[in-house]
Symmetry: none
Subunit: 274 residues, 2 copies
DNA sequence: GACTGCGTTTCGTCGAGCGCAACAACTCGT
DNA sequence: ACGAGTTGTTGCGCTCGACGAAACGCAGTC
């Protein structure tokens, strides 16, 4: 009886397991290693050939040849001639193409722009990916000294408005599978399961989520769900800015605007049709 | 066979053609092909194994194995089981790692220096902020008299070349939200909406903006847009100097140089053609 | 129900990619 | 200033891993 959770094992089986440790060991070896290099660089930021080779467990020359190939495609670049390597602009070009083909981003972008203009704050679109929130798009508000570009970053689910919205779309089993330890980022962070469940229930009923000083002191955000044709929560859209610029009345206004915007995007994705 | 052509390998290769058709032919073959697949998918958006194989000029099974390896690293994903392939979220994760260290000012600075050296005039980088242009960086030209430092200053949008470029990236709604009263600074300042819209349309088509005696009599400037991976105008780069030092021919030369410099910075930020 | 397209799998062969070792440039430590 | 110890880079043979051909299972479609 207690082992009912075994149904989780039905998952495609290769979806989980080894996500971090360099190479997966399956597939075309050299490609596998080359992609491992990209992941190493993403994790470390900057590394020399020797360091990369050590990380992958291959010979220096092998690592060098792979890196050189990656460099020819601009996926990595070296800081200086005969210097260390880091991820290059080719990645960004690919990322641009990736989001360009996501109809979610395409449909949401003009609405995000409008929302950013109306609120004057930064707008983000996020989806659930591998136990965290993955930010797909960001439109800076009118007060645009780009606060920080979160696109592509993985953000904790329990400490952000977007995260709460995404979690609110899951059932209890999926929730347990996704939630790990609830790390505290500020004194306001929700760190226990029970209060989080209550908060999620509240998000479900009221149709939006708030997060003030929960990820970072001085940061306030409000998010609303984006649904597909089946009504599933596929993404979340948020407005965020410094707390001092977000008094109660502006926050209320932002709630109304972001909910309306998210509903509009949902409609464009086929939600609410009969 | 063709023997003498070996000298081709000596080419500096730092400014090689950025439109890599598919595979570069050099480096580790299978990695080269795998990265070619990513580029094909970036271009086409979605493709089947057979189509990819045709594009690369390899056998179906080879393409499949490469795609499977890419899929294991989440760089591609298939729309449905036994379906077509497209770029995956792994790309976005990698992109997040690159944007984290990507700073507009930092990437632009060496190019600004070069531009300042080539033109002998002052170079500025500006972004849109709070209904005006915010100057982020400045590199003084070779000329002795130092113009006053604009970094950190908010400058009217309608009377500067940088401002026009930044405005040219907005749609009509955003334009109305940002534009207030068009204050006259000199007799040349554009103070009415309609002529300004025409000017912005001109900026969009020709890819740069001019401003002569519009903010201050005797001050001439030319600016070009800096774009991110999505093609959005995120910043503007300008060359400016006293009008008496800027006859028509020098102005023309400055236009070409600043446009080229802005394109170069855009590339570093992930902007690809089209 | 045969046909035709797809993505996927298996398998034997051969050449591409591997590890080795020598090379070149750069940084320390004394 | 000078080697000792790094680093990134490059030929070179051997071998194992990646390749292509063909077969397979599964969709649609006439």
């Amino acid at each position: 009886m207690g082992k009912a959770d075994d149904t989780l094992i039905d998952t495609p089986a290769d979806t989980l397991a080894d996500d971090v440790p360099a190479t997966t060991g399956q597939g075309v070896q050299s490609v596998d290693r080359a992609l491992g290099i990209l992941e190493v660089l993403a994790r470390i930021g900057e590394a020399g050939v020797t360091e990369i080779a050590g990380e992958l467990g291959v010979h220096k020359s092998t690592a060098f040849r792979l890196v050189a190939t990656l460099e020819a495609h601009r996926l990595v670049e070296q800081t200086t001639d005969r210097g260390r390597y880091r991820l290059g602009v080719g990645i960004l070009r690919l990322a641009g193409a990736t989001t360009a083909r996501l109809d979610l981003v395409q449909e949401a972008r003009p609405i995000c722009r409008q929302l950013a203009a109306d609120t004057g704050e930064t707008v983000n679109v996020a989806v659930l990916s591998e136990s965290s929130a993955l930010y797909l798009d960001q439109v800076a508000g009118s007060s645009a000294l780009q606060p920080h570009n979160w696109v592509g970053q993985h953000i904790p689910l329990h400490a952000t408005s977007n995260g709460k919205v995404l979690l609110s779309g899951l059932d209890d089993a999926a929730l347990d599978a996704v939630l790990g330890k609830l790390a505290p980022y500020t004194p306001q962070t929700i760190t226990r399961r029970a209060p989080l469940r209550e908060e999620l229930a509240r998000v479900r009923t009221q149709g939006y989520a708030l997060a003030v000083d929960e990820l970072e002191v001085g940061l306030a955000a409000v998010a609303a769900p984006i649904r597909n044709a089946h009504g599933d929560v596929v993404a979340s859209m948020s407005v965020s800015g410094p707390s001092f610029r977000m008094p109660q009345d502006r926050l209320d206004a932002a709630v109304a605007l972001v909910v309306a915007a998210a509903v509009e995007v949902s409609h464009r994705l086929g939600w609410g049709h009969r």
